[in-house]
């Protein structure tokens, strides 16, 4: 059969194709050196730092600035809320104080009216 003759040839060809081929000497070192030098490039062209490469100082500065801005914003909002609450409490305190003083005042008036009569 034709197919019986072709099978060993195909297998030989497949074996040859899958045979281990040693990389040229120093290939791995060159690849690692290149990676360290440039970093890997993502599909979008964005550089992804790898292998212990540090982000640029600008990135650090931007991250710190963003953190500071967020903290400052949070603190300011917190202070705003405290201020509004303090103002409300103050007005309530003055209202209570004045109402009590008003009550006392009316009592004193009442008593003095009685004394005059």
């Amino acid at each position: 059969m034709d197919s019986g003759k072709q099978m060993p040839e195909f297998e030989d060809e497949l074996r040859r194709s899958l045979e281990r081929v040693e990389a040229p000497e120093g290939f791995a070192d060159r690849v690692m050196a290149r990676i360290r030098e440039e970093g890997a490039r993502a599909p979008g062209g964005r550089v992804i730092p790898i292998g212990g490469r540090k982000p640029s100082p600008k990135r650090w500065a931007a991250a710190v600035a963003a953190g500071v801005l967020l903290s400052a914003g949070g603190w300011r909002y917190h202070e705003y809320q405290r201020g509004v609450k303090a103002k409300e409490q103050l007005l309530m305190a003055l209202e209570i104080t004045s109402s009590k003083l008003g009550f006392i005042n009316s009592k004193v008036d009442e008593l003095s009216q009685r004394t005059i009569q």
Partner: protein
């Protein structure tokens, strides 16, 4: 004797134990935590100098009403108000009120008004240095309500009068009313 060296501490401790409470601590003479569970309504305002400064920043200097409040609190060091309202009488003892009154029997405090009726027991006390008012305490003990207002710092009661009719504060007249002709 060995212990004799500590004898001088005894009179110091005695003086400290009997010392009048600091102005800002007068409101602590009442055990509010014990009375609060019995109350149907509680008010607790604690504003120290820092919080008053913060409140002042939120008061407009352009709006006349708020400008007056801003002026009033300008020299204050603290505003403390505690008020409890009960649904029935007799929830607190008069001894509680007397404890506060006894702390105010010092030369620096003077009793301005004291209204005693069957139902109310209310007093106004001013702390002065002879020239200006440095504190104000209003103690109002009603059958179903107990209120203690403690304002620490230089205050002119007339400024409070100016606030009458604003922010829900009733109009007040201090001193004798002018006679109608």
């Amino acid at each position: 004797m060995r212990f004799s060296r500590y004898f001088h501490i005894i009179p110091i401790c005695a003086v400290l134990a009997g010392a009048p409470a600091r102005a800002q601590d007068i409101h602590k003479l009442i055990d509010w935590d014990k009375l609060s569970p019995k109350a149907v309504e509680t008010v607790d305002v604690t504003l120290d100098a820092n919080m008053l400064g913060m409140a002042a920043r939120f008061l407009s200097g352009e709006k006349a009403d708020e400008a007056k409040v801003k002026k009033l609190i300008g020299n204050l060091k603290g505003v403390y108000v505690r008020s409890l309202r009960f649904d029935k009488a007799g929830e607190y003892s008069l001894a509680t009120v007397d404890a506060v009154r006894s702390q105010l029997k010092t030369p620096e405090w003077s009793k301005v008004v004291d209204v005693h009726t069957k139902e109310e027991n209310t007093g106004v006390y001013l702390k002065t240095d002879g020239k200006q008012v440095l504190g104000l305490i209003v103690l109002a003990a009603e059958p179903k309500e107990l209120t203690l207002v403690n304002i620490v710092g230089a205050i002119d009661p007339e400024d409070l009068k100016d606030l009458g009719g604003k922010f829900g504060i009733p109009n007040m007249e201090f001193g004798p009313k002018p006679k109608k002709k």
